[in-house]
């Protein structure tokens, strides 16, 4: 097991700066999620933490592990790589669900479907419009 003194000072400086950068970006993203006025603006804020913030902390961890173990250790980079791949996908699902619900609720400012054969026709075919509509409206 290695000790802190094995890692050169400049590596510690770079790691510290990158960890602080990542933490600050995650905090800014979370404050955005808390403070922005509506859902469609909030959904943008969380990507700060999952992209640049994640890579900053991942690179810091990889650099630190590499110097502390005395060999190349890139495995911490798997975490930000995984986040970068998966977070846009789950955010996209969430966004679709939100657009669907807000359209049914008739929230102003939500874009309608493109063309007649698109989303709206799909909804009507599903026969779910009446049920979900009353549920979503009842909540407001």
């Amino acid at each position: 097991m290695s000790h802190l003194s094995d890692v050169p000072g400049w590596v510690q400086g770079v790691c510290g700066a990158l960890m602080l950068l990542g933490a600050v970006l995650a905090l800014i993203g979370a404050v955005g999620v808390l403070r922005l006025p509506n859902f469609f603006q909030r959904v943008h804020a969380t990507t700060l933490a999952s992209t640049l913030g994640g890579w900053a902390i991942g690179v810091a961890a990889a650099l630190y592990y590499s110097f502390s173990a005395g060999r190349v250790a890139l495995h911490p980079l798997l975490v930000p790589a995984l986040l970068t791949l998966t977070v846009p996908v789950s955010t996209f699902f969430l966004m679709r669900a939100a657009v669907f619900r807000h359209r049914l609720a008739g929230t102003p400012g939500v874009p309608g479907s493109l063309g007649s054969g698109g989303e709206g026709g799909d909804l009507a075919d599903r026969g779910a419009v009446a049920d979900t509509d009353s549920v979503v409206r009842g909540r407001d």
């Binding site: 802190l4 510690q12 510290g16 994640g54 798997l78 975490v79 995984l82 986040l83 969430l94 619900r101």
Partner: protein, 93 residues
């Protein structure tokens, strides 16, 4: 020890905990179901990053990296499942 590193070792976890607190507040407030799911998403990303930072703090000991990977994977699965649930009313059709 380098002063920037010494500062980062305690400041970065504090900042990440603050981020998780903001997300938790949105999770409790969040007017709609989408807001709560988004807050949970933010919460798990911050948690994965926090575990990575704690791993650097622990100086290579423990299984911090594996835990961060698990949080990231399970977070993706849960967010997708909940988004699907909000969209269709059930997860597996």
């Amino acid at each position: 020890m380098n002063p920037i590193f010494a500062t980062a070792l305690w400041l970065a976890p504090v900042l990440l905990l603050l981020a998780m607190a903001c997300a938790l507040l949105r999770l409790l407030l969040g007017p709609s179901a989408e807001d709560r799911i988004l807050a949970l998403d933010t919460l798990y990303v911050a948690a994965a990053l926090l575990v990575l930072v704690l791993g650097v703090r622990a100086n290579g000991g423990g299984a911090y990296f594996e835990v961060a990977l698990l949080i990231a994977l399970l977070g993706f699965a849960s967010t997708s499942a909940m988004a699907k649930f909000v969209l269709r009313g059930e997860v597996v059709e």
